[in-house]
């Protein structure tokens, strides 16, 4: 699903304040994996996530997403690839405040050119799956943190992407809600079979995943299987 070879990324190259953040990353992620990337701030995990999510470019190396080489894409091409291949879940949810839950979920389909009626039906379907059918017409401001993150997960799911990238999905939630959200993500991973990559610094989150990758100073420090994932908060 994801194949990364010798990935390098430097911010401000050639300048005195040049910052070499990713120093030759090699990584293979199979379809349907549920893994976490951990690391201290400055370890390069956010940059790696941005590169995987086609939000940022890299300097050297190779990156294939679902068989497509990702390099030097135009803004339009990368937008279309993101739309079809990648789903995002953010720490601060990033729902659009003046759109209700259903419209927020349907947004990726809007950019995919799906007709309004069809995309709203699909949005309802995914909201039902995540137990939010009753809240479909609520604005984000009328939802709790957990509900907002579930809307965000539904939004990431709706275009049936190759991979869902979650950047600190529990960062803004209390432990009970965090547990709920991680359970849902596991469930989605199991039932929908979508590869899920969670960037986190919370050990509790990483313990719930099947594979944990540690990044330190731009290199992979460890990459190990977690044979007994547990959801404990």
């Amino acid at each position: 699903m994801i194949k990364i070879r010798g990935l390098n990324k430097t911010y401000n190259p050639g300048e005195p304040n040049a910052l070499h953040v990713l120093k030759g990353i090699d990584m293979d992620i199979a379809p349907g994996e549920f893994l976490s990337i951990m690391g201290a701030s400055g370890s390069g995990k956010s940059t790696l996530l941005n590169v995987i999510g086609i939000l940022d470019d890299y300097d050297s190396g190779e990156y294939l997403l679902d068989g497509t080489p990702i390099k030097n894409l135009s803004e339009t091409a990368s937008a279309e690839l993101r739309n079809r291949k990648v789903g995002f879940v953010f720490q601060s949810f990033n729902l659009i405040s003046y759109k209700n839950a259903m419209e927020n979920v349907a947004l990726p389909l809007y950019y995919n050119g799906v007709a309004r009626k069809r995309r709203n039906e699909m949005a309802m379907e995914y909201l039902e799956k995540l137990g939010l059918g009753a809240h479909a017409h609520h604005l984000p401001s009328e939802l709790s943190g957990g509900q907002k993150q579930r809307v965000a997960i539904a939004r990431a799911l709706i275009s049936r992407p190759a991979v869902i990238l979650a950047d600190e999905p529990t960062g803004a939630l209390d432990s009970a809600t965090s547990k709920e959200v991680v359970e849902i993500m596991r469930e989605v991973n199991r039932t929908e079979g979508i590869t899920m990559i969670i960037v986190t610094h919370e050990t509790a989150v990483s313990k719930a995943t099947d594979r944990i990758i540690y990044l330190r100073d731009g290199v992979i420090e460890s990459d190990r299987r977690n044979p007994n994932p547990v959801i404990e908060f």
């Binding site: 941005n50 937008a79 990033n94 405040s97 950047d167």
Partner: protein, 422 residues
């Protein structure tokens, strides 16, 4: 972005109504701009029409030629000699001049005595003119009743006349049929064949209302000692400037009457085309001024929209970033911002346009002509279709222009910067 998606409109509407006061305040600039543009243009249009209506019906490519006194000695004649045009000149011009269309000699005579026109007990003092039928091609008149002077009147030297409206009202009882009746002009009986009133204010000589017109040949036969006349009206053939025709006629007249070719004073003239062009230039200047002021007001409104859209883009950086992450292409972002500014401009502009038209209808009621009822006959809509079309074009263009800068600004927002949580 698919523009014909209900959600696109809902979205635009949602963002505009989210900050209602700001949108209204911003829209007001555009509203006022278009309002001013329409009202100013309507006033300019109305003013132009009012002035134009004064010369309406008068051939604007016509020249009046008068005989004056020579200012140079020539061929043994002393200077200061007075001369007259005669019937031979008309023939000469008709045969030789290539740029002249209508040739109409006029013999205008004032009322030399008190009560020169009499009918029974009634009478008055009016001027009278001997004319050819084509006189009314140069200076249109409204035929109130009866008929005009025709070619047979000319060739048969009929003792007939056409009288002005005021003359009719003075000599006849209200409702009385004038045609067939006789009036006495300078002691000679003439049969009335028609009553006319002026088409517009501009006339050759005195007011049409207070004049009597008779066939040129009749007048020469009855009242004149010789075949001389004092005024010649000519028009240029289509596509030729009246000044060219004027010069040609003058040259012919100078040669025929032994006047020095360099004598500019002997043949006098009044070129209506030149006058008309001066007025037209004034109108062009007026229209340009109106457009400038109106567009200026609109421009400041547009800058306001552009400005507020820049602020909006700044405020919505995160939202735009999220949209980029979710798959919005650069074009989607541009279209969204542009259509927001376009819709705001269009709504405000339409309102301004409609209020402007309403106000223009009031402007239309204002009489710039100084209370001359004759002008009511000319009525063009103040806000013409062309003007409406121009205003709409300006509006559409300005809506798009207003959105251009903010859209470019929005394009520089990268998803990665906008959604950063730290």
């Amino acid at each position: 972005m698919r523009f014909f998606d209900t959600d696109s409109f809902n979205e635009i509407w949602a963002t505009i109504t989210r900050n209602r006061f700001r949108s209204v305040a911003t829209g007001f600039g555009v509203f006022w701009g278009l309002f001013m543009l329409i009202v100013l243009l309507a006033i300019g249009n109305k003013l132009t029409q009012s002035i134009l209506s004064q010369v309406d019906g008068f051939a604007t490519n016509s020249v009046m030629i008068f005989s004056g006194r020579t200012s140079e000695p020539y061929k043994g004649y002393r200077k200061g000699r007075s001369w007259d045009m005669d019937n031979g000149d008309v023939e000469l011009i008709r045969q030789k001049a290539t740029t002249v269309d209508i040739i109409s000699p006029i013999m205008m005579r004032g009322s030399r005595s008190d009560r020169n026109v009499v009918r029974g007990m009634k009478g008055g003092s009016w001027s009278y003119s001997g004319i050819y039928p084509n006189y009314f091609d140069i200076n249109k008149a409204k035929q109130e009743s009866g008929r005009s002077i025709n070619d047979i009147d000319i060739t048969e030297r009929r003792k007939v006349c056409v009288i002005g409206q005021t003359v009719y009202e003075t000599l006849f009882a209200p409702g009385e049929v004038a045609e067939g009746q006789f009036i006495r002009l300078n002691g000679i009986y003439l049969q009335v064949i028609g009553v006319i009133s002026p088409h517009s204010r501009a006339t050759i000589g005195g007011p049409v209302d207070e004049s009597i017109f008779l066939p040129f040949t009749t007048q020469q036969m009855l009242f004149e000692r010789d075949l001389a006349f004092d005024m010649l009206a000519v028009t240029a053939v289509p596509g030729v400037s009246a000044s060219v025709a004027e010069e040609e006629v003058k040259t012919l007249l100078r040669a025929a009457h032994d006047i020095a070719p360099t004598d500019t004073k002997a043949v006098e003239s009044f070129n209506l085309e030149v006058q008309f062009k001066t007025i037209q230039l004034l109108f062009v200047g007026l229209a340009a001024l109106m457009w400038m002021v109106g567009l200026g007001a609109l421009l400041s409104g547009i800058i306001g929209v552009s400005n507020i859209m820049l602020v909006t883009v700044r405020e919505r950086m995160r939202e735009i970033g999220v949209r980029r992450a979710l798959g919005a292409r650069p074009w989607d972002v541009i279209a969204q911002i542009m259509s927001e500014s376009f819709v705001l401009t269009a709504i405000a502009g339409m309102l301004g346009f409609m209020c402007g038209v309403a106000a223009s209808l009031l402007v239309d009621k204002i009489d710039f002509s100084g209370g001359n009822g004759v002008l009511a006959t000319i009525h063009k809509p103040v806000v013409s279709f062309d003007l409406a079309l121009a205003a709409m074009t300006v509006l559409i263009v300005s809506g798009l222009v207003a959105g251009l800068l903010p859209a470019m600004k929005a394009l520089t927002i990268k998803a990665i910067d906008a959604i950063r949580d730290e």
